[in-house]
């Protein structure tokens, strides 16, 4: 219990730090007034000055930075993420998030699922034949996938699967029915998943090989357990730890990858949104997305911890 409280404390501190950093950076390096008003912010006409004054008052721009941060933060925790500066009419950021988040979440879920479904059997296969020819081929393959930059892979996949062979659709269309949209996300997810699967595979393979050298594997074999059952029942579970850790950490990295993949596959998700928002210095959007991502990161890593203790009761004990 205490442990979880402590985790919570760290999580909160982390969110505060991340938000303060982002908030500070955006306000110091950017020009919020311009981002709210656009060209009008530079106007010297009297009627425009009024608008400028009004905007300054509305967005507390005359307050010192810390005060603004606190105001932003206290609104944020009540679910008021502010308005989008760069969109006409300044609709609430929460609208954007509501629309985009599910797409990105779906993309990441498909990607992670694919990665795991590819990586685990692959690793089991490679580890059970460690250092044989097949394993070497698999190692080379995984190296290739790790070394190919995600933008390169995305471009190649799109070219082959969408353009050349027309297996997957070229574009995400928000107006299509749910399952069609899911289908539209499969190829982008694949671009994210393949390198990640390779990373998972290599990690899991190494751990499996280590595990397979443990005495208890020998025990299992000397009991007469078949090779397959040794792999699945005895070796897999104890080998999952670094895999799970990386799985948690990778969620952040995957989101980074989705910035580019969403761009290439034209998926209007959080990745596209944040790139756009950053370019236009749409602070509330950037902040909201950064906070969501960080929170997700924290939550996932807590889940990973939970998963740990599920997999390994020894952790629960301590």
């Amino acid at each position: 219990m205490r442990y979880w409280l402590q985790r919570l404390g760290v999580a909160v501190a982390l969110l505060l730090a991340v938000s303060a950093l982002t908030f500070g950076a955006m306000n110091l390096l950017g020009d919020p007034l311009f981002n709210i008003l656009g060209p009008t912010s530079a106007s010297t006409l009297p009627e425009d000055l009024e608008i400028i004054e009004a905007a300054k008052a509305e967005y507390n721009l005359d307050d010192p930075l810390p005060v603004r941060y606190v105001k932003w933060g206290s609104a944020f925790v009540t679910g008021d993420f502010g308005v989008q500066f760069s969109v006409d009419g300044q609709p609430p950021v929460s609208d954007l998030i509501k629309e985009r988040l599910p797409r990105t979440v779906m993309l990441l879920i498909i990607a992670q699922t694919m990665a795991v479904l590819i990586a685990i059997p692959w690793a089991l296969f490679a580890a059970s034949r460690a250092d044989k020819a097949v394993d070497k081929v698999s190692t080379v393959t995984s190296f290739l996938f790790i070394a190919i930059p995600n933008f390169g892979l995305a471009v190649i996949l799109k070219y082959l699967f969408s353009l050349k062979w027309s297996i997957f659709p070229l574009i995400f269309n928000a107006a299509d029915p749910f399952w069609t949209r899911v289908w539209q996300l499969v190829l982008p997810a694949m671009a994210l998943a393949l390198p990640v699967a390779s990373v998972y595979q290599r990690l899991l393979r190494t751990d499996l090989i280590t595990t397979l050298q443990e005495d208890y594997i020998l025990t299992a074999r000397s009991k007469g357990v078949s090779k397959r059952n040794v792999l699945f029942k005895h070796a897999l579970r104890p080998s999952l730890f670094s895999f799970i850790t990386i799985f948690g950490i990778n969620t952040g990295a995957l989101l980074g990858g989705s910035l580019i993949v969403e761009q290439i596959f034209i998926v209007p998700g959080l990745g596209t949104a944040i790139v756009e928002a950053i370019l236009r210095e749409d602070f509330p959007v950037v902040l909201a997305i950064v906070m969501i991502v960080t929170t997700a990161f924290v939550v996932i890593n807590v889940l990973v911890d939970l998963l740990y203790s599920l997999i390994d009761p020894r952790v629960r004990a301590s």
Binding site: Y216, L218, R221, K223, G224, K227, I311, D312
Partner: protein
């Protein structure tokens, strides 16, 4: 091989034929450095109910020997010679064929009880696994049997243990569980590879007693692998001494301790501090390090470190020679008791068995 063969061979065992027979067993590993001759020609036999101690320094091939018999070797290993188990040559058996023997006919207890139990699997499951596998028991029967096994190895509160994980048990208890697993299907041959090295002395005594007791109760053969002459002394019927992958001396326990023939065995014996000796008693040492198994020395493996070695030892490999007692064999040109040995020993006595030059050791 199938189950029937084994049952058939049971008759032969009772008829006094050896349960296990090794004839010139060699196990070599292919590595980039070259061929590692981890076990290099071992001939032995063991009757049902007997216990054999295998001793030797680290790296002498004890573990590889027992795993060669079990067929639990990595793929880089190459075996020659023959291993007859219950009359059947199992040297060429595939892992699939061996699976019927593992657990059921021969099983193993490992050195490190911390590692040899699956850390994430409940004790109960680990014990019932082979029962279901080999004896086809259903869950309830298997659990009942497991309970009985835990009682047999004297684990307190066995019911509770079934649902515990290894880390919740102490080292000694884990080793007992290991033994219970090994005994589960009533094997005829048990390998115990340094079963007590990681344990405290007090616990060690308990475990060794337990193994001995189970051996008698079950009329099982035991091969006890250890580097501790003290351990084999009190718990085996015969002893095989290994050096550099070779069997260098083999005798019934009492015979061996009474009449060590190999200078190596003798030096090993002398290097152990004994409680009965007064404090500050000078210990004998064996200079140098064990032979490189890729390029073993010419002649006797032990010659380079042997304080009694004569030129012949460096050229010609001594064969296994029986003594007056045909059960006692050794491989040495100038065994303890031979005139050459005695002469040299007298010289050494004067120097307190210290090798003259330490740097020769490095």
């Amino acid at each position: 091989m199938n189950k029937n063969d084994i049952i058939q061979s049971d008759r032969r065992i009772e008829s006094g034929e050896p349960l296990l027979e090794l004839i010139d067993l060699k196990t070599h590993f292919k590595t980039e450095r070259g061929l590692v001759r981890a076990v290099d020609g071992v001939t032995l036999s063991l009757k049902r109910g007997e216990s054999l101690g295998v001793v030797g320094e680290s790296g002498s091939g004890k573990t590889v020997l027992s795993r060669s018999i079990m067929g639990l070797l990595p793929s880089t290993a190459v075996k020659h010679g023959s291993v007859k188990f219950a009359g059947q040559d199992i040297v060429g058996f595939s892992a699939k064929q061996m699976r019927h023997l593992w657990g059921a006919e021969m099983s193993m207890v490992f050195q490190n009880p911390l590692n040899s139990l699956n850390p994430l699997m409940k004790i109960g499951k680990q014990i019932t696994e082979p029962l279901k596998l080999h004896l086809g028991m259903d869950k309830a029967t298997a659990t009942a049997t497991a309970l009985q096994l835990l009682r047999d190895v004297r684990i307190p509160e066995p019911e509770r243990r079934l649902n515990q994980l290894p880390h919740e048990l102490s080292g000694g208890m884990r080793q007992r569980v290991m033994i219970a697993i090994a005994l589960a299907c009533g094997p005829t041959l048990l390998f115990a590879d340094e079963p007590t090295t990681a344990l405290d002395v007090t616990v060690q005594a308990q475990i060794l007693d337990l193994i001995g007791e189970q051996r008698r109760d079950r009329n099982m053969s035991v091969i006890l692998v250890t580097h501790d002459l003290g351990v084999v002394a009190g718990h085996t019927d015969q002893i095989a001494v290994m050096y550099g992958g070779k069997l260098v001396e083999h005798a019934p326990t009492k015979t061996l301790f009474a009449n060590m023939k190999m200078p190596y065995t003798k030096s090993l014996m002398r290097s152990i501090p004994k409680l009965s000796d007064p404090s500050h008693t000078r210990l004998a040492t064996i200079p140098g390090r064990p032979p490189d198994l890729v390029n073993p020395p010419l002649g006797c493996n032990f010659a380079p470190r042997c304080m009694y070695a004569l030129p012949k030892c460096h050229v010609e490999e001594p064969p296994l020679t029986p003594t007056a007692d045909p059960k006692h064999v050794y491989a040495c040109w100038y065994p303890v008791g031979s005139p050459e040995f005695e002469k040299r020993d007298a010289e050494l006595q004067a120097t307190g068995y210290m090798p003259e030059d330490f740097s020769a050791v490095s």
